[in-house]
């Protein structure tokens, strides 16, 4: 028990939806209602719902726990409870050690103050002493790359600059427990990398981390364990890759279309071997049997591939591959076979299926499921990144200095 930096013991948290009484005029009726009903705090009234239901987890000192789940699953609520911003209705939360919470970068910046002044203000709000900020000021500025804008009021900053300064301050609080809500989604790629490296450094140095993100790659790299929440209920807790699979399985369940029903979906190799783990460069066939629930005229079925953190990296459609258009009467079925060379690499990818109507318009689909199948690509060790370009190299040494050993030549 006492070895844990963070403990969440069967925590319940409820919220009210709809409007609140927030004018004095409404106080009297609401008090009358309360007196009439009697005060039972644990019971849900009609307008209330449980944002978290009986959630328990522990994080040992120096461990990192990722919290994932669809929108509205209670991730941020859990973090706000951890940071003390919210209090649980039932159960208990405890955090041991100097903690720092990043729910939003630069929350607490005052627009009229300069960058320099805000570093001090925000640093103090996050729990640093003035002397500490003095000591780390140069580091903070260097990290933020805003040296030339320090004496500019923050209201003139771009949102990226704002976030950079926010993260720079937060990253130098040097907490023992770091509570982070989706903050990697801001700033340019370079800065995101930098933030991520900083977070890795924290974990390496033995800080305890509770991390909410939709960036599953980041979760997978930083955390050994994940907690998967859905509708406020923990559905999985344990090894990170199993947790990410569980998370994706939520989306496989949901297919929504009034026009088309998928009867059969298969992912196989050319030899007919059905699986979901493939090697880079392997050829796969994606078979789909669909049934028209209403009349379809000249529609275009298509494929999408997303990375596990939601980046769209590949799109195709029958309209790009063939002249044949798909026209089906109500109740008719069709079978499609897409063939692909999987020149992707070392990650989990999501294969989606879409059907667009004859006249295409953004966001209008006859069928849309971007996460129909999960594809796990093995790592070829030849390269890094999403793409597998089957690299090779030839090296030839020229003007070799005499007498220096340069190793074997081919």
């Amino acid at each position: 028990m006492s070895n844990c930096a963070i403990e969440f013991n069967s925590v319940w948290k409820k919220f009210a939806r709809g409007e609140k009484y927030d004018s004095l005029r409404d106080l009297i009726p609401s008090m009358a209602r309360m007196a009439f009903r009697g005060k039972k705090r644990e019971e849900l009234t009609e307008r209330e719902f449980w944002a978290l239901r009986d959630v328990s987890f522990q994080i040992g000192h120096g461990d990192a726990l990722g919290i994932i789940g669809p929108n509205g699953s209670g991730k941020s609520t859990a973090l706000k409870l951890l940071s003390g911003i919210l209090k649980p209705n039932r159960g208990s939360v405890s955090v041991r050690g100097r903690s720092s919470t990043l729910i939003e970068l630069g929350a607490g910046f005052h627009p009229d103050l300069t960058g320099r002044e805000n570093v001090y203000l925000n640093g103090t709000i996050l729990g640093m002493k003035r002397a500490e900020i003095d000591k780390r000021f140069d580091e903070i500025v260097e990290f933020s790359e805003l040296k030339d804008f320090l004496d500019t009021p923050v209201k003139r900053y771009s949102s990226g600059m704002h976030a950079r300064l926010g993260f720079a301050v937060a990253a130098h609080v040097n907490p023992e427990v770091l509570i982070i809500d989706e903050v990697l989604s801001v700033g340019d790629y370079h800065f995101q990398e930098k933030c991520f490296a900083k977070m890795q450094e924290f974990v390496r140095r033995g800080a305890t981390l509770a991390f909410v993100s939709h960036n599953l790659t980041a979760i997978g790299t930083l955390c050994k364990n994940v907690l998967v929440l859905r509708h406020g209920v923990p559905v999985f807790q344990g090894d990170v890759s199993a947790g990410i699979q569980k998370y994706h399985s939520f989306y496989e369940e949901e297919t929504k279309s009034a026009a088309i029903e998928l009867l059969d979906v298969r992912l196989r190799t050319a030899e007919g071997d059905e699986r979901d783990i493939f090697e880079p460069g392997e050829k796969v066939i994606f078979d789909i049997q669909l049934k028209a629930l209403e009349e379809l005229r000249n529609c275009h079925p298509g494929l999408q591939i997303h990375t596990s953190d939601g980046q769209l990296i590949f799109v195709t459609a029958t309209s790009r591959l063939t002249n044949r258009k798909l026209t089906l009467a109500k109740g008719e079925t069709a079978r499609l076979s897409f063939s692909l060379d999987l020149n992707i690499h070392g990650n989990v990818f999501l294969l989606g299926f879409t059907v667009t109507p004859e006249i295409e318009a953004p966001g209008e689909w006859l069928y849309y499921n971007p996460r129909l199948k999960r594809i796990i690509m093995t790592d070829s060790r030849k390269c890094q990144g999403f793409l597998h370009m089957n690299p090779s190299v030839e090296i030839q040494l020229e003007n070799e200095p005499r007498g220096v050993e340069v190793g074997p030549r081919h």
Binding site: F15, K20, Y21, D22, S23, L24, R25, D26, L27, K80, S83, G84, I85, L86, K87, P88, S92, V93, S94, V95, R96, G97, R98, S99, S100, T101, I103, E104, A107, G108, H110, D112, L113, E117, Y120, L121, T124, I125, L126, G127, M128, K129, R130, E132, V173, N174, P175
Partner: protein, 277 residues
């Protein structure tokens, strides 16, 4: 490396049952920083800068003078210098009270982002609002002190009462501010009510006139706990005599009890601030 201001072992739910004052000690720097922020912002983008700190008291003193001139015209007695200075001595602290309570009432709602995004004891927000106005009060008081010196009001041993009276004034201001900030978070029309009360409060408080002018009904003015403090300032600074001790004790009771009770209420309500704001 536990040099941080945050608690080393904080049990969050336990905080409500008594660790609060302990924890509060660790947040002194934040209180200072937020006070500094409020002062800085006020002076940063204003046309008048420090003149702002004395504008409000000048307006209050000015209206007090008009009231006095009117009284003098009716009663036929000439205005004497000490009466004018009395109004000034009472108006400046009253102006502080009004400004500080107004500012503190809005402090939680104005800092919504901090309340919903970052954890720290929320008492700091109304408190820093009061302290920021205290700074203005000191600026105005320095000007007033100069005027008093030039007017040769003179000094006496009774001036030793002044710090105690001012502490009591801050305590009363703080109690009002803490309670109203909390109320305004849950009920947004509290601030309008506060505006009205503060605007007309000057007539229910011995600012422009002294309680004795109302004869046997004078005690009504002193029922407002700020009243005896203002009268006390006048007695000690201008008239060089001991303040009315029973009434002062009455104020002090309000100040101490009020502070304890409003503090407790605030602590209770604090748990639901972030979801109710």
């Amino acid at each position: 490396m536990n040099t941080g201001a945050l608690s080393v072992a904080k049990d969050l739910p336990g905080r409500l049952d008594g660790h609060a004052s302990e924890e509060f000690g660790q947040y002194k720097e934040l209180l200072f920083m937020l006070t500094w922020r409020d002062i800085k912002i006020r002076y940063k983008q204003s046309l008048m800068g420090f003149a702002w700190a004395i504008l409000m008291p000048i307006l209050v003193v000015g209206s007090g003078l008009i009231v006095m001139v009117a009284f003098a015209a009716m009663s036929g007695k000439p205005i004497n210098k000490l009466d004018v200075l009395s109004v000034a001595v009472k108006s400046v602290p009253w102006a502080f009270f009004v400004a500080a309570v107004r500012f503190a009432t809005n402090s939680l709602v104005m800092n919504k982002e901090l309340v919903t995004k970052i954890y720290f004891p929320r008492e700091i927000l109304p408190m820093s609002a009061v302290f920021a106005n205290l700074f203005d009060f000191f600026v105005a008081s320095s000007v007033l002190a100069l005027i008093l010196i030039v007017s040769r009001v003179g000094a006496s041993i009774y001036l030793l009462w002044v710090p105690a009276l001012l502490i009591l004034l801050v305590l009363l201001t703080m109690s009002c501010g803490i309670l109203l900030a909390c109320a305004n978070l849950f009920f947004r029309d509290v601030k309008y009510l506060v505006e009205v009360l503060l605007t007309y409060g000057v007539f229910f408080t011995p600012v422009f006139y002294s309680a004795s002018m109302l004869g046997k009904w004078g005690f009504l003015l002193l029922l407002n706990p700020v009243g005896p403090v203002l009268e006390g300032l006048r007695n000690t600074i201008i008239l060089h005599r001991t303040p009315d001790l029973p009434w002062l004790a009455y104020s002090a009771t309000w100040g101490l009890l009020g502070f304890l009770i409003t503090w407790k209420i605030f602590q209770r309500a604090e748990a639901s601030f972030a979801e109710s704001i």
